[in-house]
């Protein structure tokens, strides 16, 4: 029944990566040279620690002790540290649990986020302004300051050390998501909703057959950012479900005594860092524009 055309929505034209023009022109060749020099220094600052870590992760501990940090590894295919780190840190379990947290909380977060945005974007009701404010205010309440209370709540609900603690804390709808979704919803012509209603479509049907498909780019961005956020989050699992090891908390098992074995430690660091770096290489445009959209709105 609904054979209406869906109007494609342009990507946000302010997104950083899609711009190719320049605002400023540096014409002085000496000035230009120093600019490149400065940038080269910064790139070195970003890569040097990573390169050093990678270099020693390919060495045996004895080799590291004898030859030091900067000597190239004798065998660049020596992955023994990676295998040992994977086993010692229980990374298999950690990656699996992180995957489960993402698998259960991200879809729910998307459903809730889009539903809230649909209700706030398409309907007029008395408490709308208040609700907006209610969703906005928590962004000004730094989560770390409330930890003691959240911890007590999670314990009292009997969620301590259960998967549900992580899932529930991750599905919370935040205003950034709502704003990103709202931006897209506001661009969908209301005429689409109205003609669908005349055709007899319910509001629920309009939500999932008209609104949701149009939100695809925003949903993609939110999924990637949520995924990165959950993968990189150390505090939530450490605090509320310490018995369930995630990627970040399993890396933390290397704290303390094992720190003396730097090559092993470096391999562990790289194992945890690699997945997000790979995601970033392929999806950097989504990530950068998502991050800026969230902060700007």
């Amino acid at each position: 029944m609904m054979n209406m055309r869906i109007i494609p929505i342009r990507k946000n034209k302010n997104s950083v990566s899609s711009e190719n023009t320049s605002t400023f022109t540096i014409s002085n060749p000496i000035g230009k040279f120093f600019c490149y020099l400065l940038i080269a220094f910064l790139i070195l600052l970003v890569f040097a620690p990573l390169a050093i870590i990678l270099n020693i992760s390919l060495k045996e501990n004895s080799e590291y002790m004898a030859k030091g940090v900067y000597a190239l590894p004798e065998n660049i295919f020596n992955f023994s540290n990676f295998i040992n780190a994977y086993k010692l840190g229980g990374f298999g379990e950690g990656f699996m649990n992180t995957f489960l947290l993402v698998f259960f909380s991200v879809p729910i977060a998307i459903v809730f986020g889009t539903m809230v945005a649909y209700a706030l974007g398409r309907f007029d009701f008395k408490l709308k302004k208040l609700l907006f404010a209610a969703f906005l205010f928590p962004t000004f309440v730094p989560t770390m300051t409330v930890t003691i209370a959240t911890f007590t709540l999670i314990k009292n609900l009997g969620l301590y050390n259960s998967f549900l603690a992580g899932i529930i804390l991750y599905i919370g709808t935040d205003i950034m998501q709502i704003y990103i979704f709202l931006q897209f919803i506001n661009q969908i012509p209301i005429a689409l909703d109205e003609s669908a209603r005349i055709d007899g479509a319910s509001r629920l049907k309009i939500y999932y057959s008209i609104i949701l498909p149009q939100l695809k780019p925003a949903i993609a961005t939110t999924v990637i950012l949520k995924l990165l956020g959950i993968y990189n989050d150390f505090f939530t699992p450490y605090m509320y479900m310490p018995k369930i090891k995630t990627a970040a908390t399993s890396l933390n098992t290397f704290a303390g005594d094992r720190m003396a074995d730097w090559p092993l430690m470096s391999a562990a660091i790289i194992l945890i860092a690699i997945p997000t770096i790979l995601i970033y290489i392929f999806l950097q445009n989504y990530i950068i524009s998502g991050v800026t959209d969230g902060a700007v709105k």
Binding site: S22, G172, I269
Partner: protein, 291 residues
């Protein structure tokens, strides 16, 4: 059924669970935090007995608590420096330099790397005997100048806050890039035609147009810096002797090592008020400057 009624049902149905979650996990903990902060609760006993403002008095007069706020200032200063470096980079990478998109992508990359991994990495960089930085200093004959990154000095806090600078300066840059690119090119062109030079363009066009974004960015960074936790937790555990303990590190230590949940909550509330005060000051400032 009337359309109005259907609207109501839809709105209620769509908002119900998210709002319940919001109240339960955002607002209730806030109430609970205040309640605990007024008690001497140990985190275990079934009822919470209110004792008044004693926790606040002790926290605000206790040297170790005030020093955690003082330690935290290093992170705030770093966050402010980060704004200027980020803005500078944004301007630099919004110019006619070649490969600027690649440079942007590289400088932003640390933002997406796992924080524990980054902290561990710097733990190695800062290790006195193994530090790759000290290795270089030794080789080039500056043996007496090897750096003790983590020591009894206040500078240890800067060593730790530099880690978040490394991780987040690209984020700040990207935010400013978005702000710069939202300024229409014609404004610049018109000014150029009028003979405005680089610094004049920056002062009269760029700065006024990114002021709001600057406020948002500095707020985000200060907010984050006041909640600094991971770097000291991973690298120093707040030591030596509490000299690198930030407010959050101190608060969690009080609660989970000494079972002083009341005092820990009071410290949380104080930090919360510091942050809210900054937000309010900024908001009023922002409104005034818009007039």
């Amino acid at each position: 059924m009337k359309s109005k009624m259907k609207d109501k049902i839809t709105v209620t149905g769509f908002l119900l669970i998210p709002v319940i979650l919001l109240i339960l996990f955002s607002y209730y903990p806030l109430y609970k935090l205040f309640q605990i902060s007024l008690s001497n609760w140990n985190g275990m006993s079934p009822d919470i007995k209110i004792i008044g403002f004693d926790n606040y008095k002790e926290v605000l007069s206790g040297k170790e608590y005030l020093s955690s706020i003082w330690n935290n200032m290093a992170y705030v200063i770093t966050a402010i420096v980060q704004q200027f470096v980020g803005l500078f980079l944004a301007i630099l990478l919004d110019s006619n330099l070649k490969l600027k998109k690649t440079f942007r992508a590289i400088i932003f990359m640390p933002y997406i790397i796992n924080g524990v991994a980054v902290a561990f990495m710097f733990n190695y960089m800062y290790d006195f005997t193994n530090s790759p930085i000290n290795m270089i200093l030794k080789v080039i004959g500056l043996e007496e100048h090897v750096i003790r990154f983590i020591s009894l000095d206040y500078s240890s806090n800067f060593a730790l806050s530099f880690i978040s600078f490394w991780k987040y300066v690209g984020f700040t840059m990207v935010i400013f890039l978005a702000a710069l690119q939202s300024i229409s090119r014609e404004v610049y062109e018109a000014a150029r035609v009028d003979g405005a030079g680089f610094f004049s363009l920056i002062r009269h066009i760029t700065f006024p147009n990114i002021k709001n974004m600057f406020q948002i960015s500095i707020l985000l960074s200060i907010n984050g810096s006041l909640q600094a936790y991971l770097e000291p937790f991973v690298i120093t555990k707040g030591g030596p002797n509490g000299r690198t303990a930030t407010v959050i590190v101190k608060s969690l230590e009080l609660a989970f090592q000494y079972n002083k949940f009341g005092k820990a909550a009071a410290l949380g509330v104080i930090l919360l008020f510091i942050i809210l005060a900054i937000v309010v000051i900024q908001r009023t400032f922002l409104k005034e400057s818009d007039k």
